[in-house]
Amino acid sequence: MYIANDYKSSGKVKWCPGCGDHAVLATLHKAMAEIGVAPDKMAVISGIGCSSRLPYYMNTYGFHTIHGRASAIATGVKTANPDLTVWQVTGDGDCLAIGGNHFIHALRRNIDVNIILMNNRIYGLTKGQYSPTSPKGFVSKSSPYGTVEEPFRPAELAFGARGTFFARILDVDLKNSQEVLVKAAQHKGASVVEALVNCVIFNDGTHKDISEKEVRDDRCIYLRHGEKMIFGKNRDKGLMMDGFSLKVVTIGENGITEADILTHDAHCQDSTLHFLLGTMSGPDYPVALGVIRDVEAPTYEMEVAKQIEEIEAKRPNIHCLNDFFKTLESWEIK
């Protein structure tokens, strides 16, 4: 049995007061205690950025690595030692700009790493440049007249890369966040948890349209596998299919009953509906929180281990490099 404090290091937390990363850190400590893996059987790997300082605040094995390269190093750690539980902590810049390629290939390979992507839609550590998730038109120090480009939607990118697990949490929603982080850890394969976090200094209120308590229930839908897609303060709104799109309906209006509302199937191999759910945004749609996709697939590290075993069985006489050299074509010059 572990408690949250067992996962907490004595390192002084250096994020700004009010930063959303504090909430994710506290939730992660609690989630790890719930998962119950010993701190020294866990490795937390990060890249560079505000969020990537997180490993210093863990009492686990940790490595604050190179900008954008956390996925590559986490892949190596997990492949070399599949018994470790490996977490990757990254931000929208580190993960989707500098580390974009490492990220998509980690998902495609389905390496069993739990990726927490802290999305504050800005480069905070470098003091406020627009990031790959900043909305179009966003005014920042590096886009004084507004950006002219479309942002990435992490869910879309994850599904495009054939990701097997995608979930979304809100920094202010601690209870649901813990449940999602536990599910991400339980998933065998690459799991992405997009944490919508506030940057109180350089992008304050970036998620306030959905995160403020008075509006959250109406503007977010919390998805749980097997449950109806119902939301709203009065639990009277729901999602239905409309051709190839989703539509928001009100239960009790136009003859619509709860039975007409879609039931969430996170385990469905086909990602079409997950894609629609993951890319919903206001004002016409609620933003989906919770586990959107969670499907089983072979994991990279297990496939590597399996292949090594198979090849070793086929070539029982090769135990070392010397043995391998002997199998090659060679001759001696005298």
């Binding site: 490595f63 604050h64 690595t65 070392c320």
Partner: protein, 219 residues
């Protein structure tokens, strides 16, 4: 625990040569400096072995040795992030000392050709074949010439100054505008005025004739 930068070039990479398959059993064993059990409880990731300045390893998964490492400057003793200026200076000095200490493990610099010559040709990397052929040819003509080919650049082999100081003229031949010559002048100022250069920057290997002409012009 020391990053190694291997310099190579297309000439070496595309070259071919017959070589005897090495017997791996004759290679020295690699023994990573794992944190000894007796350090349990007192161990921290930035503690160093006093003799070679190398830090100890604790592999992830080892009970009781969980720790964090990363690119931010760390306290010399505790391994916690440190922004103390004096600690940063100390860490820079420790790292430089660690790299310098590698020289103790490196093979000595050897001299080929006519070791008693007054002229030493110096090279490094993929130019060895051309330089050696040029030195042999000069010796056959009766112009006594020696060759020192460097396989290690930082740190330099421990006997570098002793070898270079034996020669009146040192001709550094390299396929660039003279970085190694400048480096040697800075590292071994006692021979700086004896160093001349033969350079080529055509993205092609030297020819033996070019090297011979270059050496002759330097004398």
């Amino acid at each position: 625990m020391t990053p190694v930068i291997l310099l190579t070039d297309a000439f070496l990479a595309n070259g071919s040569s017959a070589w005897r398959i090495p017997d791996m059993n004759t290679f020295p064993t690699i023994n990573p400096p794992y944190a000894p059990e007796e350090m349990r409880g007192q161990w921290a990731p930035y503690l160093r072995n006093d003799s070679n300045m190398v830090r100890y390893w604790a592999l992830p998964g080892r009970e009781g040795f969980a720790h964090r490492i990363g690119g931010l400057e760390k306290d010399t003793k505790t391994g916690a992030i440190s922004t103390d200026p004096a600690n940063h200076q100390l860490m820079c000095e420790l790292r430089a000392k660690k790299v310098a200490a590698i020289a103790k493990e490196l093979p000595q610099l050897e001299v080929l050709g006519e070791p008693e010559a007054d002229t030493l040709v110096v090279g490094w990397g993929g130019t060895f074949g051309h330089l050696y052929a040029a030195v042999e040819s000069l010796n056959q003509e009766g112009k006594k010439t020696a060759l020192a080919h460097f396989n290690f650049i930082n740190p330099l082999p421990a006997n570098t100054e002793e070898v270079l100081s034996r020669y009146k003229t040192i001709v550094v031949c390299e396929l660039n505008s003279g970085q190694f010559a400048s480096y040697l002048r800075a590292q071994i100022p006692s021979v700086a005025t004896r160093i001349c250069q033969v350079n080529k920057i055509e993205a092609q290997p030297f020819t033996v004739k070019e090297v011979i002409d270059g050496i002759n012009n330097s004398l």
